[in-house]
Symmetry: C2
Subunit: 643 residues, 2 copies
């Protein structure tokens, strides 16, 4: 309601954030080498006026991903896509995923500040459906005619597409019986049908996710560091081929940093295994991600939590821990937003339909991946959870979804000076979150998750365990020097055999300290010379991303459910020796959009600033205004692929 530009969709070209070929910042190696693998400078991203980009889905070859900024009119986009799909006939797979926003928010790119063409985040279309109780407009079976455009470079501009919100089967279920080891060590790209072997794109997963995948792939859910290395290297040839050896340093860094990874030591103290803290509830596997079969009914927690960020998980768990164990039994469906790699939680309760495509391996499977070789930037994987702990609470009776954005405010002396205006204006927002937890525990009149089979489907270990056991023999009793015996750093002076822990060369006394003296200060720094770097850098090959989706509905801060912030939690902190106590006021904002069309919901999504992640799978069809409570949805009727 605040701003719906509704501009016409005019095709134009736009420089994408990652297409700039500028010198990378952090590198220490150097030869003033010739400009080989020079990028052709082609930033040929085909896009809509506001930066709409049409990209290949990373592993679903029949799917296109349409990234639209927040300012774009989704209806218009859908119409245009539909029209283009119709006029191009039906030659190929036929799915589009609309993604508004990416993991980081596509914002203004580093070089260009284009201001308000920000892209907000993602919602699954299912979520939008539940928000609005409206079906998705039938735009299924659009063809991928847009593929004819030069998409190679635009792939680098897509940052957040990980996973998919679609329930469609993976593109090639044919290679379901291929054992991983059979495929791994030889020509990983030939499982796709194109012949040209792309230079091993970087996977769109963060290190944390990769480690998680690796550990969970093992039957014992436990892995040594070497095994983690090997698993990742086998699945993602990027790390063997193009990545600097520092990626192992990053793996170790992530293992140490995130406390979801804990190290177990064998009783003799000889071996140490890395596990995933069980409280973290991160039992998702890479197979599940690739198969899109991370059914919410098969995992004990909402799937969103499975790949949430550390802080997010910590907050949620900490919050749950604060509950004095069964005081209120209302199973609080804390469904914080999670831009994870996963499929919607509103999946059928029935066992997954897809055949286990076991030997899944990340290859640039889909069509033309020439991968502009000159992409300079080290792509930063999108944050798995946006930090927005506002939850989407669904009440199937009411068939309405409410976004309760609650804030943790442990103000020991809360600042009370608030005018009615500011209270109205800044009430439920403040989306720089991670501190803003859902503390609603006792009094919160939240709408709860239905007790049905969706979120309360018992403690079933994820279904991929048995087939992950095939992974086991890969890691047990590995020969000690197979691939990971990256030899002897020798301080990486100018050789390419580098230790995984980067270190500085003892080099070159002609070194020049680079200092920035902020102007206007005292500054003894008279001689301030910034040496120009040869623009080398961690040249990783660009790659696409997977679709994320989240469970935040629209915050609708214009329509807060609770106008006055209330103090819901006054739990005394359980510190043993602390002195200071504090209270935690709570700010709650809920949005009751009772009956709205899907496009209304989308519009609301687009208008709301603190809303994030719109992810629409256009391949949904046949959902027209029936008020369904989501507990008894037969998705096989709704999704053509399930039929």
């Amino acid at each position: 309601m605040r701003r719906s530009p509704r501009r016409p969709l005019i095709l134009r070209r736009r420089k994408l954030p990652f297409q700039q070929n500028d010198p990378p910042a952090a590198e220490s190696k150097s030869q003033p080498a010739a400009a080989s693998k020079q990028p052709s400078g082609s930033s040929n991203s085909w896009c809509f006026p506001d930066g709409i980009r049409v990209l290949d889905h990373p592993f679903m070859t029949d799917t296109k991903v349409v990234v639209i900024p927040k300012t774009a009119d989704v209806q218009n986009v859908i119409q245009v896509l539909s029209a283009k799909g119709k006029e191009s006939g039906s030659k190929g797979p036929s799915k589009f995923i609309l993604l508004s926003g990416n993991g980081h928010g596509s914002g203004p790119p580093a070089g260009e500040n284009r201001g308000s063409t920000r892209v907000s985040a993602c919602h699954s279309m299912e979520m939008i459906h539940h928000v609005s109780n409206k079906p998705v407009p039938a735009l299924k079976t659009l063809n991928k005619d847009l593929e004819c455009h030069p998409l190679e470079d635009s792939l680098t501009g897509l940052q957040c597409l990980r996973g998919s919100s679609t329930c469609a089967a993976p593109a090639e279920p044919a290679k379901q019986t291929s054992n991983k080891e059979n495929v791994d060590l030889h020509s990983q790209a030939e499982c796709a049908d194109e012949v040209k072997v792309p230079p091993a794109e970087r996977p769109p997963y963060s290190y944390m996710a990769l480690i998680q995948f690796a550990i969970n792939s093992h039957g014992s859910r436990r892995m040594t560091l070497k095994e983690i290395y090997t698993w990742i290297e086998d699945r993602f040839p990027y790390f063997r081929q193009v990545a600097k050896p520092g990626w192992k340093n990053s793996i170790r860094h992530n293992l140490s940093l995130h406390d979801m990874f804990i190290r177990e030591t064998s009783l003799d103290g000889k071996m140490s295994y890395w596990t995933i803290r069980p409280e973290a509830n991160r039992c998702i596997t890479f197979d599940q991600v690739c198969r899109n079969e991370a059914d919410a009914a098969t995992v004990p927690v909402p799937v969103q939590m499975l790949l949430m960020s550390q802080q997010q998980q910590k907050k949620v768990n900490h919050d749950q821990r604060k509950t004095p164990s069964g005081s209120e039994k209302r199973m609080k469906p804390l469904l914080p937003r999670a831009d994870c790699y996963l499929v919607p939680v509103q999946l059928p309760v029935a066992p997954p339909v897809f055949l286990p495509a076991a030997g899944v391996q990340f290859t640039p499977s889909s069509s033309q991946h020439k991968m502009s070789r000159g992409a300079k930037r080290v792509r930063i994987a999108p944050k798995v959870a946006q930090g927005d702990t506002s939850v989407l609470l669904m009440d199937p009776q009411e068939s309405k979804a409410i976004k309760a954005e609650v804030k943790e405010e442990p103000l020991r002396s809360p600042v009370q000076s608030q005018t009615p205006k500011t209270l109205l204006k800044g009430q439920g927002r403040s989306s720089r979150r991670k501190q803003h937890l859902v503390h609603s525990r006792q009094e919160e009149p939240v709408l709860l998750c239905p007790e049905s089979t969706l979120f309360d489907s018992g403690v079933v270990l994820d279904a991929s365990t048995f087939q992950d056991l095939r992974d086991t023999e890969l890691h047990e009793n590995h020969s000690p020097d197979k691939e990971f015996s990256f030899k002897t750093p020798i301080k990486n002076s100018s050789s390419h055999l580098i230790s995984s822990t980067p270190s500085r060369p003892p080099s070159n006394d002609s070194a020049e300290p680079w200092k920035v003296t902020p102007v206007g200060k005292g500054s003894q720094n008279i001689l301030d010379f910034s040496p120009i770097r040869t623009p080398g850098g961690p040249a990783v090959t660009p790659q696409h991303d997977y679709t994320t989706f989240s469970f935040n509905s629209t915050p609708f801060k214009e329509l807060p459910l609770f106008n006055s912030p209330r103090e819901l939690l006054t739990l005394a902190p359980t510190k043993a020796n602390g002195a200071v106590d504090y209270k935690e006021p709570l700010q709650t904002g809920m949005t009751p959009p009772p009956n709205q069309s899907l496009t209304e919901g989308l519009m609301l999504d687009l208008m709301n600033d603190s809303l994030s992640k719109i992810l629409v799978d256009i391949s949904f069809s046949g959902l027209e205004d029936e008020d369904m409570g989501m507990a008894n949805i037969s998705w096989s009727e709704l999704i053509p692929q399930f039929k």
Copy 2:
């Protein structure tokens, strides 16, 4: 007992880790400028054969810090120092601090791998005293004759000296009444007596510590980001003068990263303040650090915890939280190791002796700080806590200190294959910790901390609160554009007005991606050019460090108290929806060194690999073999400065 080289002390020169002038790694600014402020290449560190270095204490002008590696014979060092002190007469202050090890462990420097000349960690002498029940050999009043050596460069080699374990008064208590604001904004280096204004060395504190100091300096223990900026800038002119604007990015990064920092939002949502989580128990202030008056009796928790690392604190608190609130009342003196900036906890119960040296500001106070201008490396502040959660448990009745190293091993299926040999050999060690928690809760026959006034002195807020209130008016109602209005990033292309968030320039299509293709792999990377960087970089000026000390006694893994790991904690995880449960076996190692001399204790320290941090203040005197239970120590009798 294993290896005491006992080599004679021969003076020689040694290249220190931070004296190499090599190109810094991560920089993006550049002019191919002339080589100004070129380091003279002088690595004139005066040191003992095994890398013993004699350095000025950062702020205690009467104190020298002697850094000795693990392989050095401490007795020998003490003898040499004593002899040199005697032969040089008494012209000046007269304290030596022996530090074996620095924050990171001084290890082999990046360029040179010198192998076994590793330096282990620190113990306060008091701790050693309690370990061995032997007094410190009277080596007081050594003179600082060693100062005549060129120490400027060697200062950069000292990394971990933060704080001090001595109880001596600060060097200049004369400027105790100088208000901070009076001193801050004008010529911060003139409080020291040398005239030459050094180019604002980088403070030896980590960003986390700096933020902690800033927040705790405020009376309300709450600060906005701007105020934190200002506080740090005012105290440490380095950040205004020489630091890149990215230091603010680092501040924000640290605020977000460490969950000890929580953000409070005012109810109107307009302001947000950063506080320190009360459970973190980090109420130490910068004044306390500088004044060395962090008396253990004035803070509710052992002082070590006040500046422990996040993970350390988390572990300890998490462990304490697991206690079902008063099941066993035995006040468990979890004294994990903490290489913090602090003074010993075994300080007198009496109120601190020192006059409040209020306007403390970090300046290179002590004698000659010419500060080799060409130090290239960005010094990494030592980790505040080494991650060793092994505790030193002291029983005053027994007058013995036992290091119970307990390991958290949440093995769901623990690896049980251990031979007696491996059990003997690798039982209590594994000092790559942070996961290894003290889980001893129920059955653990640990020796407890005495109920005396040392660790059980009540919940008294730290004594610096009142004088930190003087800090308040500095931050309240600050004029909006004073110093921190670093203007408009504009994407830091080549200007020096740079946004605090570094971003890449959209620059230069002649950029060259730098890739490392690991040899021996498939590697489409034929053209692999590593451009040589002009060795610019974050040229921070070198600086010294402060003495740390810790509370870990010797692990003595040869003498484990508990031979068989026992499962002490089988607490069901409190997750609300988790599935997997696990047990936590426990490995415990305790060391009963009943009656040993100090030097024996030191020798044991030096021989033990997993022992860390030997910090000996030689200025202690008169402690000779009396078996004191530490609860009723009158330190004023023992420490000359207290008399």
